[in-house]
Each structure stands twice: as structure tokens, then as C-alpha cells.
Subunit: 146 residues, 2 copies
DNA sequence: CTCTTGTGAATGCATATGCATCTATATGGA
DNA sequence: TCCATATAGATGCATATGCATTCACAAGAG
């Protein structure tokens, strides 16, 4: 029987409930503002970071921790909304390159204040500078890379 | 323009990626073991804690941070699997009381080692006792109650 | 008692997700 | 060159989720 310390349980349950609650608040606020879901923001941001060269969907999938089919369909929806363009990738006939459109950049910028406002209210304001650094450090130890 | 400290951003992105990655590992492991999803575990545990008196669905909804319709349908599926019984609630004709069945308790117990094993590997082992206490404390400050 | 309003729970319909599979191209070896 | 295998990406089908609405009962006002 695997046994866990009470602190592990407390940390884990808080981790989940905090992330769920904050995500929920963000999604609700975006919806109320007539904006797309947070997943679009993350995608738009990664695509924007890739610049005019564009980014390959499999690369995006890795960065966003999404399943392959989720990436494919998320890009479908974002493309339908006119926020990206997909073009064939020369050098690899199987692939494509995704590039942000001007409307895509505008959309990401419109989403940011809503997102950042809630992070300020729900994260930044509840921790002092030392706490924030400590929390970031502790969570970094939990990254499942190793 | 709302501005956030780099530590806030780092803490938030880690919070999300860690919770996503760990949940993912847990869901995958449960599936591979032929067990139901983690959401069932959480529900079964809350129902078990309520004891033979049972628990009202709206109470469960609050504890699990679920939408009303999600709760209703989750209970449908769990009931279909024979893990709970729902009976009318005397004193409130609108309501019902959900009680864990023996099979439900057995299922929760079968799920626990898989769940706990991964929490041990991915959380407990990566932090020393002091880190765990600190992390739990910091996350407690982020609970959106206040 | 009756009417209005509030609350617990279910459900029809549209959209999103997960799984498995499929197509097309790439790559490495015989 | 030809074949086997691997990788990028899309998609059909089943299941789950979100939204809005609905139904049933509760509670308080008159």
C-alpha cells in the first residue's frame, strides 16, 4: 500500500483545485468578453513567437502538451476564424507551416488584458515577491522532464 | 496594460503544465489498468466520506467544483456501473441521496494504488519534507475563497 | 390556499474530445 | 531501385461537455 505524506496530499489537492478554479475564472471572463477560449491564446502566442517562418503543428503539439488530433482540430477552428494561415512546408511534403495573421495578433492582444487581469488578481496579489519566487522554484522541481 | 512579474508568469505556467502533465500520467495509468477516470475516484471518495447517510448531488458538485449537469451525468455513469445507489431524499422531494455501494468502495480502493503510486513518483519523490510543506502553504494562499 | 420566485436535478441539442485508423510523404536498408 | 518502417497530419465514429431549458418541488408573501 503506497503511503503519501499529508503534505503531499495537501499540496496535490491544492494544486488541482487552484488551477481548476483559476482556469475557470479565466474561461468565464473570456466568454463574457466575447473572446475565444484560453487554449486559443496559448496557441496564438506560440505561433506568434515562431515569427513569420511559422511553426510546424507537431512542434506546437509538443509545446502545448496537446494530443495530435487536438492540435489538428484546434488549428482548424483558429484557421476558420481567420487568425492563422497554413501553408505547405517545403522540405517536408507531409508537413505544413502555421503563421499568425494580423487578425490573429490582434486577437491575442485583445485576450491578454482579460487573462493578465485575472492572474494579477488571483495569483500576483495573493503572494509577495518572495512567495512568488519560491512557488516558481518549487513547481520547477516538479516538471516531469527528468 | 496589466503587467505581471516574471515570477508570477513562471509560477502560473508551471502550475498549469505540472498539473496537466501529472493528471495526464494518472489518467493514462488508470486507463491502462482498465480502471475508470480520475473524476470517478474523486466522486467515489467524497461519497464514501459521506457515509451511509449519503450525500446530496448539489453538495458533491460544490466539493468537486463541477457544473451541475456534469455532476448529474457523472453520477449517471457511476450508477450505471453499479458503484453507487441513488435514493429519494426524505425532507426534500426534489433531491436525492447518493450512497456508495460495496462495489463502489472496492473500485475506489483498486484505483488508489495507481493514483498514489504516481503521486509518490511525480510529487513526493521530487520534493523534500520542507519543500512539500512550503508548497502546500503557498498554494493554500491561492485558494479563491477569500 | 394560491401565486410568485427560488432551488435541485435532468435533458435536447450543438460542439469538443478520445480513440483508432487512414493517407501521404520520408527515411533507411537490402 | 524497391520495400519496410516511421512520422506528419486528418478524420469517422463513439463518448463527453457546455449551454439553455425544462420539470418538479420548496418557501415565502399576500
Amino acid at each position: 500500500m503506497t503511503s503519501l505524506s499529508p503534505e503531499t496530499i495537501a499540496a496535490w489537492t491544492s494544486l488541482i483545485s487552484v488551477s481548476t478554479a483559476v482556469l475557470d475564472r479565466i474561461e468565464t471572463a473570456l466568454k463574457r468578453a466575447g473572446l475565444p477560449p484560453l487554449s486559443w491564446y496559448d496557441a496564438l502566442l506560440e505561433i506568434e513567437k515562431a515569427g513569420p517562418e511559422g511553426i510546424r503543428p507537431f512542434e506546437l503539439k509538443a509545446r502545448l502538451l496537446l494530443a495530435q488530433y487536438s492540435t489538428s482540430r484546434l488549428l482548424d477552428r483558429i484557421e476558420t476564424a481567420g487568425l492563422i494561415t497554413r501553408r505547405a512546408c517545403d522540405g517536408d511534403g507531409r508537413g505544413q507551416l502555421v503563421v499568425l495573421s494580423a487578425a490573429g495578433e490582434a486577437m491575442r492582444r485583445r485576450m491578454w488584458p482579460v487573462y493578465a487581469g485575472l492572474l494579477a488578481e488571483l495569483v500576483e496579489h495573493r503572494l509577495d515577491a518572495e512567495d512568488r519566487a519560491q512557488l516558481a522554484g518549487l513547481l520547477a522541481k516538479l516538471h516531469p522532464n527528468a
